[in-house]
């Protein structure tokens, strides 16, 4: 057994159960006496709900109940809450329309839940759902963001006149206007950020269970944050006090944001189980996932940069129209504002920035955070704009970036859009990425490709993001309705093994391994003596879950704080056992030692003394060795880096092949390099998917056209390259680990690198910009229409 502490690529302990088919995902669980539920969903984008006739369904074999919005209302069930309140430019609060668990009066998107059918088997419930007779009176649908705000557009919610959720701004408008007025040159770009479907491979599922004798409700659910679900569902929807509600999120098959939110189905099965006195299980199928899991992105923006004659960025002006979908999902309002517009400085020292963001309701699935959440939209906008500036001013794209970088000695750096970056070194990651991608050899490769009749391009993106969310007081002042601290309970068991209870949740990140490494390292115990427990509100004191690349930076910091307390108490116990002054005790590698001597007690001896306190300072200390810490971060963390993409495209077909991808990221402290590399590769794959393949497409009638894996192009093994990952880290200065986070960098940095590469490959065709995804059809069209500027040569 080699070194298994911080910095070692320890193989994952969770793999053994997954590789043997012994993972326990929600749909793998079954409760005794369990019933099955199917959610009947609207097939209309926008309609008045005239009536639901359940008579035929109720008469069918095995059917136990059919519930509608009226049944929930009669029981006082509340709507799904939104966790973030924004304010308009004029200071008034955003429009916050009701979000009923089952539709009441109206349906507002294809997939809107209309009824719950409960039966003995899933097939019986499905058959009965088919037999429900639902009468609708169709209303005109509002589909795209621009459709929502045209005069005379149909209105989704009475509470949101003109379909506007909020009209928000950040930054110094007057300053920006003045800078533009005096600028040497202005470069502007209109661009969209394509709507995506997260598509974790495990579809969502939920099982409600109820014990009528204790009054205890249990919900098993595919969640990234079981405590958040308990809080939202208990307090706002079902009015079940926390101590009567247990939420378990067992093994979860990927989340990428889509499993953060409190969804209707969780409340439905919990409520129905209570009503029926029997467990009720619901499992989404993929078609249902496409129209009920929150989507991501969907921006339409205009960006303008004011420049001086040397190419220095003077001011940035951004106007974005973003889609909330039909209702506000849990964190939706924050994504295109505080996770987007605050990132518009990127890695550049642009002194003045003003951004206006208007969010609208449309008859589409609600949109919320998807891997990166707001930051991919910001980095895409900036890095595309910078490339366009380079082209139009004739400056070299690398030199232009270097010229405008925030210098590494300027940290901590206050941006004009609220954030204060603590650390970073953009030249370092840029240089490393360019070297790894053999940037200098590109011209030769391009020439060789051209000789072979193919077009080769290279694109770079230098980006920064904000994660490790988040300082509670700061987000509270910005409208968050929750704290975003994290919790760890560290229990040293009597014989010296350690059980750690964490409020974060692992759904692919490998926390059971990484956190065990961290704890083994800090407490000097063997890796296999550390157990990590997550995903159950009955076992873990509290927690806010996993999203925003927060688990190590915030959750790991909570562990460090709890371990500090363990070491402090252990030192006192050891001082007693060693008859020494506590000030003379030092702890390292699992030993409490009297400084400068060989007199020491191992952690296991100290813990045994704590649980068998015969020789123990009982007048000063309680027995036991277990500590809890709540850690509230002091700031966001700011990972960043440089991604370089090289593509080759076939002018005959328009097919793009990514031939090389290099990501060099600054993620702060790395605990397990193998896991970090895997996180970045997965994120990059999703970014390449966004850039080249994926789009949630609605037709004008409000139907999701790309609503299955046959229509929605997921990245497959044969459309992705090998992904070279490097890390060049500066440490986060404000958390005890120096960790920044690595879960989202891949998805944030990569799309502009890919698009910049394709545009570069098409440079002879006079194309300035193309909106994602860059499908063969679009590229082929450009090639067919374009007159190569160099053809005459």
């Amino acid at each position: 057994m080699g070194f298994e502490g911080i910095g070692a690529s320890v193989r994952r302990r969770e793999d053994l159960r997954f590789l043997n088919g012994k993972g326990r995902y929600t749909d793998d669980l079954n409760r005794p006496g369990q019933l099955h539920a199917i959610v009947k969903r609207s097939d209309r984008p926008h309609a008045r709900l005239v009536g639901i006739d359940a008579a035929a369904a109720l008469a069918m074999d095995g059917v136990v109940a059919v519930y509608t919005g009226a049944d929930l209302a009669a029981d006082g069930v509340g709507g799904l809450p939104c966790g973030w309140q924004l304010h308009n430019k004029d200071g008034s609060p955003m429009a916050e329309p009701a979000h009923p668990v089952l539709a009441i009066g109206k349906v507002r998107h294809v997939g809107d839940p209309v009824a719950l059918v409960v039966a003995g088997t899933r097939q019986q419930a499905r058959d009965a759902a088919e037999a429900l007779v639902i009468s609708y009176a169709d209303l005109p649908p509002v589909v795209g963001v621009r459709d929502a705000i045209v005069a005379g557009a149909a209105s989704l919610h009475d509470e949101a006149p003109g379909n506007v959720c909020y009209d928000w701004q950040i930054g110094d408008k007057a300053g920006v206007d003045a800078a533009f007025a005096g600028a040497h040159r202005v470069v502007s770009l209109d661009l969209t950020n394509n709507r995506l479907v997260p598509n974790a491979m495990e579809p969502r599922a939920a099982i409600g269970d109820f014990d009528p004798f204790t009054g205890d409700h249990t919900l098993y659910t595919t969640s990234q944050n079981p405590h958040v679900i308990r809080l939202l569902m208990g307090a706002f929807v079902l009015h079940i006090p926390e101590h009567r509600l247990r939420v378990v999120a067992p093994d979860v098959g990927g989340g990428f944001g889509s499993k953060i939110y409190h969804y209707a189905e969780e409340a439905l099965v919990t409520w129905a189980a209570g009503k029926l006195g029997r467990p009720v299980k619901w499992t989404s199928d993929r078609a249902e996932a496409f129209i009920s899991d929150a989507h991501g992105r969907d921006h339409d923006s205009t960006a303008e940069m004011a420049l001086d004659a040397q190419g220095n960025f003077l001011a940035l002006r951004v106007r974005t129209l973003c889609n909330m979908g039909a209702y506000l999902s849990t964190f939706a309002p924050a994504v295109p504002t505080y996770l987007y517009a605050t990132l518009l400085a990127g890695v550049y020292r642009t002194p003045l920035i003003h951004a206006e963001v208007k969010a609208v309701f449309t008859n589409t699935v609600p949109v919320d955070a998807y891997r990166g959440a707001g930051r991919p939209e910001a980095s895409y906008l900036l890095e595309r704009l910078v490339d366009v500036i380079a082209r139009e001013t004739g400056m070299d794209r690398v030199a232009l970036r270097r010229r405008n970088f925030i210098p590494s000695d300027a940290y901590p750096y206050q941006t004009p859009v609220a954030l204060q970056y603590d650390s970073g070194n953009h030249v370092m990651t840029l240089d490393a990425a360019l070297a790894a991608a053999d940037f200098d050899g590109f011209a030769a490769r391009r020439a060789a490709a051209k000789a072979a009749g193919r077009l080769r391009g290279m694109g770079i993106s230098t980006y920064l993001e904000a994660c490790g969310i988040a300082p509670s007081a700061v987000v509270g002042s910005l409208g968050a309705r929750a704290g975003l601290f994290e919790v760890a309970n560290v229990r040293v068991n009597p014989t010296g093994s350690v059980t750690v209870f964490t409020g974060t949740h692992s759904h692919g990140q490998g926390h059971e391994t990484t956190f065990a490494q961290l704890v083994a390292d800090q407490l000097g115990v063997a890796f296999d003596q550390v157990d990590i427990v997550h995903g159950d509100t009955a076992r873990i004191p509290f927690g806010m879950g996993t999203y925003g690349s927060r688990s190590l930076a915030v959750g790991g910091s909570a562990m460090v704080k709890a371990m500090d307390k363990i070491i402090l108490k252990g030192s006192k116990i050891a001082a007693h056992l060693l008859e020494a002054d506590v000030a003379d005790i030092e702890f390292s590698q699992g030993q409490f030692r009297v400084k400068g001597t060989d007199r020491a007690k191992a952690l296991a001896e100290v813990s045994l003394a704590a649980y068998v306190p015969h020789n123990y300072p009982l007048d000063e200390l309680e027995p036991g060795l277990e500590e809890t810490a709540f850690y509230d971060p002091k700031n966001f963390t700011f990972p960043g880096g440089c991604h370089v993409c090289e593509v080759e495209l076939d002018p005959e077909t328009g097919v793009v092949r990514v031939v090389n991808f290099v990501a060099v990221d600054d993620v702060g402290r790395v605990v397990n390099p193998m896991i970090v590399e895997g996180q970045v590769q997965g994120g990059v794959a999703q970014g390449i998917g966004q850039a080249l393949l994926e789009a949630a497409c609605y037709d004008a009638g409000g139907q999701l056209v790309s609503g299955s894996f046959m229509d929605y192009t997921m990245p497959r093994a044969d459309c992705l390259p090998n992904i070279t990952v490097g890390t060049e880290s500066t440490m986060c200065t404000h958390n005890p680990l120096g960790a920044k986070g690595c879960g989202e960098v891949g998805a944030i940095g990569s799309p502009p690198a890919v698009v910049n590469a394709v545009i570069d490959a098409l440079s002879d065709y006079g194309v300035r910009h193309m909106d994602m995804p860059l499908t063969p059809e679009k590229i082929w069209g450009i090639i067919q229409a374009g007159r190569p500027a160099l053809a005459a040569e």
Partner: protein
């Protein structure tokens, strides 16, 4: 209701099924082997791949009645009785070819077939092409490809080339 008799991971089962019951439902719901997953409803994701008489098949695309008399191997049947992993399982672990683990059973079952049916060698391109029917949202496939390349020599009784280390 009709009855199917089949062998799963060496164990015989006789189970009553509906005509519409899928093999994956039979495995998960009637036999209790939940290692085989369902990730889609259009036969696109491969999370459900099992081996029917040693050939990898998407078990969401087969009716239970079609496998009467067949011998099925699922992910649960790969490791030896003493827990020793199949070389493909071992290489997936060694090369960090799984994150959330949801696609993993289907990936591993398909990868084994891919290696077996290519005894003369497997290029990266062949591996990527062979994985076309399996979706993974977590890994970006990079490490899955590496794991399969590393399993090939082990399964064919060759030494692991240094490049796979």
């Amino acid at each position: 209701m009709p009855q199917v008799s089949l062998t799963v991971n060496g164990k015989r089962h006789s189970v009553e099924v509906e005509g519409r019951t899928l093999l994956v439902e039979l495995l998960r719901e009637k036999i209790g082997l939940t290692g085989t997953h369902v990730g889609c409803d259009t036969s696109q994701c491969g999370a459900c791949v099992v081996q029917i008489d040693d050939k990898s098949v998407k078990s969401c695309t087969v009716l239970a009645l079609q496998v009467d008399g067949a011998s099925i191997t699922t992910i649960e049947g790969l490791a030896a009785a003493d827990g020793t992993l199949h070389p493909m399982q071992e290489m997936f672990r060694e090369h960090h070819a799984l994150q959330c683990g949801f696609c993993t059973p289907g990936m591993v079952m398909n990868a084994i077939d891919l290696v077996k049916t290519n005894p003369d060698g497997l290029t990266e391109e062949q591996i990527r092409h062979g994985l076309e029917g399996n979706l993974c949202r977590c890994t970006g496939y990079h490490n899955i490809v590496k794991a399969i390349a590393a399993a090939w020599p082990l399964m064919h009784g060759k030494k692991v080339p240094a490049a796979a280390e």
